[in-house]
Subunit: 459 residues, 2 copies
Amino acid sequence: MVGLPARGKTYVARKIARYLAWLGHHSRIFNVGNYRRNAVGAVQMHDFFDPTHPENAALRKEVADRALEDMLQWFERAGDSPATGAVMTKDSPITPITPRPRSDSLSLSGVGKAGPGWVALYDATNSTTERRQNIYDKCLERGVQVMFVESVCDREDIIVANIKEVKLSSPDYAGMDADAAVEDFSRRISQYAKYYETLTPTECQGEIPFVKVVNVGDQIIVNKVKGYLQSRIVYFLMNLNITPKSFFFTRHGESMFNVQGKIGGDANLSPQGHTFATKLPELLAANLGPETRLTVWTSTLKRTMQTAAYLAWPQLQWKQLDELDSGFCDQLTYEEIEEKFPADFSERDQDKFNYRYHGGESYRDLVQRLEPVIMELERHHEPNHAILIVGHQAVLRAIYAYFLNYSLEELPYVKIPLHAVVKLTPKAYGCMEERYTVDVPAVDTHRSMPHPALNSRAK
Amino acid sequence: MVGLPARGKTYVARKIARYLAWLGHHSRIFNVGNYRRNAVGAVQMHDFFDPTHPENAALRKEVADRALEDMLQWFERAGDSPATGAVMTKDSPITPITPRPRSDSLSLSGVGKAGPGWVALYDATNSTTERRQNIYDKCLERGVQVMFVESVCDREDIIVANIKEVKLSSPDYAGMDADAAVEDFSRRISQYAKYYETLTPTECQGEIPFVKVVNVGDQIIVNKVKGYLQSRIVYFLMNLNITPKSFFFTRHGESMFNVQGKIGGDANLSPQGHTFATKLPELLAANLGPETRLTVWTSTLKRTMQTAAYLAWPQLQWKQLDELDSGFCDQLTYEEIEEKFPADFSERDQDKFNYRYHGGESYRDLVQRLEPVIMELERHHEPNHAILIVGHQAVLRAIYAYFLNYSLEELPYVKIPLHAVVKLTPKAYGCMEERYTVDVPAVDTHRSMPHPALNSRAK
């Protein structure tokens, strides 16, 4: 990352890291601010950041170098990961089909030298050409490709809003008066601004891949970007925006298959499911908040369209929102699956995220299929215009896990009950969640994780 | 489009139009050069393009205005299209699920005022701020959104190569000596260069969405780009490159289901299919051409992996390459489908592109699913490194139709026989095709279009 303080670097780094982790890439943020706070304590006044003060400058450089070294070592651990016969994703959109043992919960794909498909976000100001050249050289030496992401902002209103929203709650200003903190932070920015050099195509021997985001996406400059991941990240950044927004999600009403315990298929709603559909307009109206418009997305399956039938809002049917395809197990009960395909049944319990139904999909496949949906939710930027997704259990698990930062291991066990509406409101560093229910009973279709130790967050 | 002559504007316009048409958008190019040739004849020496010559300048403006007016009227016809109950795609990635009557073969989605989802490419130099302001105002007046795409190039080698490859075969230089033509064309460029003004964020009242492509993608500047289609086009441009490349495609060898006349499923190869697999390495080796490396993409189905089993090249399995999902008809013969689901069977014959198997996919769904595959083929830019896709009939039809510019109506009838390898080499304005076969018999799985009039190209 490159940019003056309060330009949203950490926000952008976290968004990228989350997006990539959800898509199955090892991703990790190395935040130099955290290293500094560990080294010298949180509260440091602006003059600590004065680049002309030799002692503090040396200290800050030492801290930044430590973070960089940790990052490079993290990549080396990626390179050391034992080969497992999995097809490498490396720099392509192709996901491996062979499940493999996982070393951590956010990172399911990509093994090999220098961690193909592993992405670290080095979150610091990196505000001079010299510093960037140094990072660039060190990374290349260790076989790590570099892309710089600069956030440039000259709109005072955005900067002040960012300081107020994010920086005042930072440990750096714990217990300090708000105005004094803003004042101090503005001076800290000035300290960096004295020597700030924006990215230019000529630095790093003229071979520098970078993307420069100006005024939160008003303009984007892309330089020598190569490869699948770099180009995906740029596309993601192009669609990112900071418009306040909320999304509503609900599963379809209880279906006849839910009642019979069958999975898949294209069944009608049960009488109770139908009652839920009739009550949905009122439930939404009571909880819309500042949203004055709503667009409803359903899947192409009858149960979601029937659930949305009483909503007087524009509706779109989206094939990508169809339920996880259970292949040869479609329209069976779990008991029948266990009986007919006992090996599959237990294999799925071992690794539900990677297990692919024969002739159907895995949760990993589903995440890939839902990527355009996530991109569209991120891109959505009409104020006071909310989107309601009337979806399916597995689909909503995947979407919910993206916004709530669940690991891919937890994802297939997220509880999304029938006859409830979830409202998510993404914030700068997190996501606010509200749940509304209506008193229409429904069966419980949730099957818990077989490993109780991992079950704590899967509510 | 914005740019001096020989900057690849027409190439880029055609690529964008093709990409969007394949995704189901009405798209059409209005090429001012063609209007000029119609108005004043093809052969005009460089001084015709001298902006200081008042008469010629007026004539060229008149021609450009005529093309612009035709374009705006085309958009109005889009707005006049009768509503058909189809869900509008408008500016979102969501495809309509209700098939509707089509007004032309390249354009299957998007109806409503001013043609939501309709995209015209206005292909001219548009080299001054004044001219662009004029276009911008006229479009906005008629309810048409504008995005400018500028191609900037200061690398003499690329420009000269472009003149030689494209311009010398243009009707403008029919019958002229090559050196004289290059000389004349360079002077034509100079005529435009005198008054050329590159795009700036301040023109068009500072509200100008544009993308500027510098030196064939070395740098890309994106300004105020909004909305799904604009952002997709930018992503496509980011991945576009002019590296010479070839792609190889083959269906899996004959499968046991092919022999039994069944569709879908996950069958093994037949003995003949297996023989084809054993002969594939030799067939490829004999026809590789300048390619020294090959990467093999298969689907996740056994018949493609078995077909690739004897190839000593890196292999990746890609879920998106799986065969069209025939839903409840999976593993049936066409005779069984006709007997069990007679209505569906005839509905599919009426509109094969839009027909969705119950619980499965339509060709339209398949095209959406294959979009990342097309993007990856376009992005591929390692010289002498070819990709071989071992795929399925419907999947290869869709990919082939993209490169060979088939309409969506023709797409489901493209002949992709078993036991043959197709090599495609995209060129500036077209695609070279070679087919290699090996003497291993196989069943014919092709079912012809029921409307013979449309059948001429579907070979």
